[in-house]
């Protein structure tokens, strides 16, 4: 396996993602700049300018047009990728829904960032949650290495004949997009070989004329939608298969979840994204003190891997679900999903953290584990608030 590695380079998540795109060599990349996605597209534009990749790069006039052009290119018959964040993702959402409905397998890199107002360029998952019910597959990376690996895996998930849906690969704004770390890149030809050729059933530039994007009345819409829902459900097994194939070939296994020291855990945290790094350190420390704590990092958010997660939570008594997004007026998205699909015996508690890039320190994670030893608080707790707001809970 080591022989397939090009070696380790110090790269930001954004740069690593751009390398994955260069190696995948999409036919078309329509894109619009937005922080903190910009390092992805700047690095990729540099690769194009230096002749390192021959993708047609479309510098469009908005994210709405980026996603629209992506649908046109993907259905025309070209492998298509784009990248965005925050307000840009918000602007794309209308067309992400349509891309899923038209079964356009577009791979999208997302530098997850807070939504306005107030305007804020830092990381949280509020933008990704806008696409939650779009019908797209949504995956989140913990760090730059995962951002790279998941991008290489994404086309095979998106383009699988049973799926044919957009795939969003998220990485936390700044803490992953802009943070340099060691990333092991694969060889270009290994990536090409793993990804394979782009094939869709009815390319507009193919031999058979087809009409796509028809108007469906109540007699047909429902069936079409349910088939689309089933395609997203099928993506769970496809993702597992692609993850296994990737692991067999390259030695890194990125399944739907990363269960960290969960074997005999009694208390656990479930979260998404880069805060997993901090949480793993805290788990290690508490384990050294003999506390039975563990962590589940969710990578595959849509389709939601209910069974895999329930299995991982098997013997746990109390679980804190940490959401880096709010759902004003109800419980936050990750918590709501877990509660909806979980029939185990563990008690679930809801926390919100890190909105707008607020740092989550090891002490915050320790506090959550400590609170899990005490009786349930009910409602939603807000981690890391300052001043008078710090006791905020609902």
């Amino acid at each position: 396996m080591a022989k397939t590695m090009l070696g380790v380079e110090v790269l930001t998540g954004g740069e690593a993602t751009a390398h994955a795109m260069r190696q995948i060599r999409p036919d078309v990349v329509p894109v619009y700049p937005i922080t903190p996605q910009t390092p992805i597209i700047q690095t990729f534009s540099r690769f194009v300018a230096d002749g390192k990749v021959d993708t047609v790069l479309l510098q469009v006039e908005s994210e709405h047009s980026a996603m629209s052009a992506a649908v046109g290119a993907a259905l025309a018959g070209g492998r298509t990728m784009t990248a965005t964040a925050s307000q840009g993702l918000a602007l794309m959402v209308e067309i992400i829904y349509i891309a899923a409905g038209l079964r356009a397998p577009i791979v999208m890199a997302v530098g997850n960032r807070a939504l306005s107002a107030p305007i804020n360029i830092h990381g949280d998952h509020s933008d990704g949650m806008l696409a939650r019910d779009s019908g797209a597959v949504q995956i989140f990376a913990e760090n730059a290495q995962e951002a790279y690996d998941l991008m290489v895996m994404a086309p095979r998930v998106a383009e699988h004949p049973a799926v044919l849906l957009p795939v969003l690969v998220g990485q936390d704004g700044f803490s992953v997009t802009h943070s340099a770390e060691n990333v092991a890149l694969l060889r270009d030809e290994e990536v090409q070989d793993f990804v394979g050729p782009y094939e869709i059933p009815y390319p507009l530039l193919g031999e058979r004329p087809s009409s796509q994007g028809l108007f469906a009345m109540p007699d047909a819409y429902y069936e079409i939608k349910v088939r689309q829902v089933q395609a997203l459900e099928a993506a769970e097994q496809v993702f597992a298969d692609v993850a296994r194939a990737y692991a067999l070939r390259f030695g890194r296994h990125l399944g739907a979840i990363d269960a960290y020291r969960m074997e005999d855990a009694e208390r656990a945290i479930v979260l998404i994204g880069s805060t997993a790094g901090t949480a793993k350190d805290v788990v290690d420390e508490l384990r050294e003190r003999g506390e039975k704590v563990g962590l589940v990092v969710l990578r595959l958010f849509r389709p939601f891997p209910h069974k895999v997660l329930a299995d991982a939570l098997g013997g746990v008594q109390r679980v804190a679900v940490l959401d880096r997004a709010a759902a004003p007026g109800t419980f936050p998205p990750l918590f709501a999903d877990i509660r909806a699909g979980y029939s185990g015996s563990a008690e679930l508690r809801s926390y919100v953290y890190g909105l707008g890039g607020r740092d989550t320190a090891p002490q915050d994670i320790e506090k959550v584990f400590a609170e899990l030893e005490r009786p349930a608080h009910g409602g939603i707790r807000y981690l890391g608030l300052t001043g008078e707001d710090q006791h905020g809970e609902s």
Binding site: V28, P30, L58, E61, S65, G72, A73, P209, G213
Partner: protein
């Protein structure tokens, strides 16, 4: 230049847009679509904005389209076409396609072009994709039930600019979209009308021969929206041109040329009085409104004449070079 017989023959050999759709009798859209598609040599991919054309021709599981056709949304047809064109270019570069010239043509209404789709259109024109954008301009949001758009003429009554005890129809003049398109310095832009099908067909041929973007603004009659009899559609389209309400012209690399001079211009009132949307102009107070419309179209015509005059030598030089 294709004759009517040739266009009919092409349609018979390779039907690109068939009957059985549910567009209204007297609607200008199907005539525009057939004339445009039959005038394009070689393969075509059509991109359609949401609107009457899309709704009436593709009710699942049926389609009126014999060419590859894609509809994504209302405001983004030019961006979608950009993507198709980019994929074509990339796939030809990489040897995945033969390189046979494929024409990408957009059909969108005035709402999807003048208003909600303007940004996507502007971006696509600026980027210089090789595609033909056809705006079928029926001067309001007809698909949603006749609401005023940026293309609706001054004083026209619509469901959102109705005539009432205070309202006198649309209070604003229409946007000069063709001029906005020309300001992008694209190789070819033109205005056409279904009444002058050969003029339209020639303009399509010129447009698709360009290496960059081209644009056609084609007036389309609308019986329910304009309030005219279905049988009067062709006559109304002609009167729009002959009254100089809708001048036929082309702009080649920024040089203007009127392509039709009405030999005996008809009075504007003849065109206005056939449409219920202008019925209130017959009222006593409305004389002023009518003359305002007349002033607007005459100043537009004079401007086009002036520009045509300015460009005359440019066209003459070009034609003598190619001779």
């Amino acid at each position: 230049m294709a004759s009517l017989k040739q266009l009919a023959l092409r349609e018979e050999e390779r039907p690109r847009f068939t009957g059985g759709h549910s567009l209204c009798a007297g609607c200008g859209i199907p005539t525009i679509v057939r004339t445009v598609l039959d005038s394009i040599p070689g393969p075509v991919v059509a991109v359609n904005a949401t609107g009457c054309l899309e709704v009436a021709t593709t009710r699942f599981p049926f389609t009126a389209w014999g060419v590859p056709w894609l509809h994504v949304a209302f405001e983004n047809a030019a961006a979608v076409a950009s993507g198709v064109e980019a994929a074509y270019r990339s796939m030809v570069n990489r040897g995945k396609l033969s390189g046979e010239r494929v024409t990408i043509v957009v059909f969108a209404g005035d709402g999807g072009t003048y208003d909600i789709g303007l940004q996507a259109l502007s971006g696509a024109l600026e980027r210089g994709h090789r595609f033909l954008y056809v705006c079928y301009d029926n001067e309001a949001y007809m698909n949603t039930g006749i609401q005023r758009s940026g293309a609706t003429p001054f004083a026209a009554s619509t469901t959102t600019s109705p005539v009432g005890s205070v309202g006198r129809g649309k209070a604003e003049t229409r946007k000069d979209l063709t001029a906005i398109v020309v300001a992008h310095h694209i190789p070819y832009a033109a205005q056409a009308s279904t009444s002058h099908w050969q003029d339209l067909s020639v303009k399509v041929e010129r447009a698709v021969a360009q290496e960059g973007p081209s644009f056609l603004n084609v007036l389309s009659t609308c019986p329910p929206g304009w309030g005219h009899e279905a049988r009067d559609g062709a006559r109304l389209a002609r009167l729009a041109v002959e009254s100089r309400y809708w001048p036929l012209f082309e702009v080649v690399e920024g040089h203007y040329r009127l392509t039709h001079y009405p030999a005996h211009p008809t009075a504007l009132v003849e065109w206005l009085e056939m449409q219920k949307r202008f019925a209130h102009l017959r009222g006593i107070e409305s004389v002023d409104l009518e003359s305002m419309i007349e002033r607007e179209i005459m100043s537009q015509w004079q401007e086009l004449e002036r520009r045509t005059q300015e460009s005359r030598s440019w066209f003459e030089e070009r034609e003598s070079e190619s001779a």
